[in-house]
């Protein structure tokens, strides 16, 4: 986002308030209409319980110089998330954790007489590897007998994608890029394998739920709406509500996906790196990271995050991107197990990164507009872009110049066995792909600060600094 003042383009649907930027800082306005509910959230103990278990972002109440606007009750300054990520970028376990966090929040809310009024996956962000709810105004008063209005949204945003990733194909999480309000249940129902009907949770919350939507939902004929309203005022008791949340929770918990058999999952056992070369490369990368001293790092093509951790373990905010869901999954599982901080693994196809989507293509930022960062690690990557994907070196250099100030990049020459493997089944149409060609292309945008061959390999590791404009 370039504006340092102004409403955030994705924050416009909720009449309770909205998020805006002032002087480059993020704030949330609580509208007067939401006053009672906000006070209930704070006074009932729910806010305290959720923030102390790291389920909800904390906030401070603030006063802004332009004073109180009409219709505004309070201005709060929420805790900042260092990198915004979106559900179509999450690996399976991140998604599952986000779903379970949402349900746990709903459970705790019920204990304090409140409910979530929406269950969008965009309400969750990741902070130090853990899912955290960012929409403080998402709470509504619980009224006995009322159904959960967010049930549909939970099933479409969380349950359907998770079920599809688990039972059909892990890549189906990407469908969320196209369906901004979650995967339609009739589509999910069609794509799930027949045996999913044998799981009670999926049978109920996806298959039968989908049929119910078709039967009752979309006929906006005159009079029919009123009739349906009477049907829906059939009670959902508190116990039934608990049962619903419980059922969703166990359905989600029982969805599993284990990374195996995707192309890059076993990468590090399949590389041409000897232990010596690996050790040397790691110490070189560490040296270059220390030299560049970035505050933020993107590791592009980071695989399971071995090199990302060089940065994150130096308390540098690091995002570790890879195209392979299995690698990202392994990365994330290790992060959770070791309780690591400053690291966010995400799924990304660099040749087709997340676009800007939503209303006016402004609700969810494209990947590139969530940058630039201080430093990018581009290790064992360039040959995939230049050779496998036919992107000319000058274009690759231009891309990096827009993405970072410091660049730690590994040049992988044609004599390298991995590149020979890539060229084995195709014509070599890359006369410019040489060390000289590489240095020339990057020299347009970057100054070479350091260059070091990686011992035990044919590769060279560079530290580059973007030229001042």
């Amino acid at each position: 986002m370039n504006n340092s003042h102004g409403a955030v383009p994705s924050s416009f649907r909720d009449p309770s308030g909205f998020v805006f930027l002032w002087d480059g800082q993020l704030y949330r306005q609580v509208n007067s209409s939401y006053q009672d509910l906000f006070d209930l959230l704070m006074g009932s103990g729910l806010y305290h319980e959720l923030t102390s278990s790291r389920l909800l972002v904390e906030h401070q109440e603030v006063l802004l110089p332009h004073g109180k606007q009409a219709g505004s009750y309070k201005i709060i300054k929420p805790e900042v998330i260092s990198f915004l990520s979106f559900p179509y970028e999450w690996c399976f376990s991140q998604f599952k954790a986000a779903a379970l966090a949402t349900l746990r929040i709903q459970e705790k809310a019920l204990e304090h007489g409140m409910v979530l009024k929406d269950a969008s996956a965009y309400n969750i962000q990741f902070s130090d590897g853990r899912p955290v709810f960012i929409d403080t105004l998402s709470f509504e008063r619980y009224r006995e007998g009322e159904p959960w209005v967010a049930y549909r949204q939970f099933c479409q945003h969380f349950l359907a994608p998770l079920a599809l990733m688990s039972a059909t194909d892990v890549r189906l999480g990407l469908l969320l890029r196209n369906f901004i309000d979650g995967i339609p249940l009739d589509l999910a129902s069609k794509l799930l394998p027949a045996r999913s009907h044998l799981k009670l949770g999926l049978l109920m919350h996806i298959h039968l739920h989908a049929k119910s939507q078709v039967k009752y939902g979309d006929a906006h004929r005159d009079g029919e709406r009123t009739a349906d309203k009477e049907k829906t005022s059939g009670k959902v008791s508190r116990q039934a509500m608990r049962g619903l949340i419980d059922s969703l929770k166990s359905t989600v918990k029982n969805l599993e996906w284990n990374p195996k058999g995707t192309e890059w999952g076993d990468y590090y056992s399949d590389t041409n790196y000897s232990d010596q070369a690996m050790q040397h490369k790691m110490s070189l990368v560490a040296e270059f990271v220390d030299k560049a001293a970035p505050k933020t790092v993107w590791d592009l093509g980071g695989n399971t995050g071995v090199f990302s951790r060089i940065a994150s373990q130096r308390s540098i905010d690091t995002v570790s991107f890879d195209i392979d869901p299995a690698a990202v999954e392994k990365n994330y599982r290790r992060l959770v197990e070791q309780k690591e901080q400053n690291l966010l693994p995400l799924v990304l196809d660099l040749t087709n990164p997340s676009p800007a989507i939503g209303w006016q293509n402004q609700e969810r930022d494209s990947l590139l507009s969530r940058g630039p960062v201080d430093a990018v690690l581009a290790l064992a990557l360039i040959h995939h872009l230049a050779i496998s994907n036919n992107v000319p070196l000058p274009k690759i250099a231009e891309f990096f110049s827009k993405t970072c100030s410091s660049l730690i990049i590994e040049f992988v020459p044609k004599t390298d066995s991995q590149v020979r493997r890539l060229l084995a089944s195709r014509e070599d149409i890359f006369p410019q792909y040489t060390k000289e060609g590489f240095e020339k292309a990057f020299g347009i945008h970057f100054n070479k600060v350091a260059a070091h061959p990686v011992s035990g390999s044919e590769r060279t590791l560079y530290l580059m600094q973007k030229k001042q404009e």
């Binding site: 009449p15 009024k117 209005v149 039967k215 009752y216 709406r225 829906t232």
Partner: protein, 69 residues
């Protein structure tokens, strides 16, 4: 309509519309109907689970007592 009735009516209307203004999400008519349909089943399941864990805890306490005697 006297003053009391009027203010009660007003309160009810505010509550109804106030509520609707906050729950801005389209819940989906079919989803609401479906939820009401499965409500009884889910409520019974939740109660059953609670009952079963109580039964289990009674029996585990009993066996502890028996072992200690």
């Amino acid at each position: 309509m006297n003053a009391l009735t009027f203010s009660i009516t007003l309160a009810v209307i505010t509550l109804v519309f106030g509520r609707e203004a906050h729950a801005y999400l389209d819940p989906g008519t079919g989803s609401m109907v479906f939820q009401a349909l499965i409500a009884l089943f889910l409520g019974a399941a939740a109660t059953g689970k609670l009952w079963w864990s109580k039964v289990k805890s009674i029996f585990s306490k009993k066996s502890d007592r028996e072992n200690n005697e």
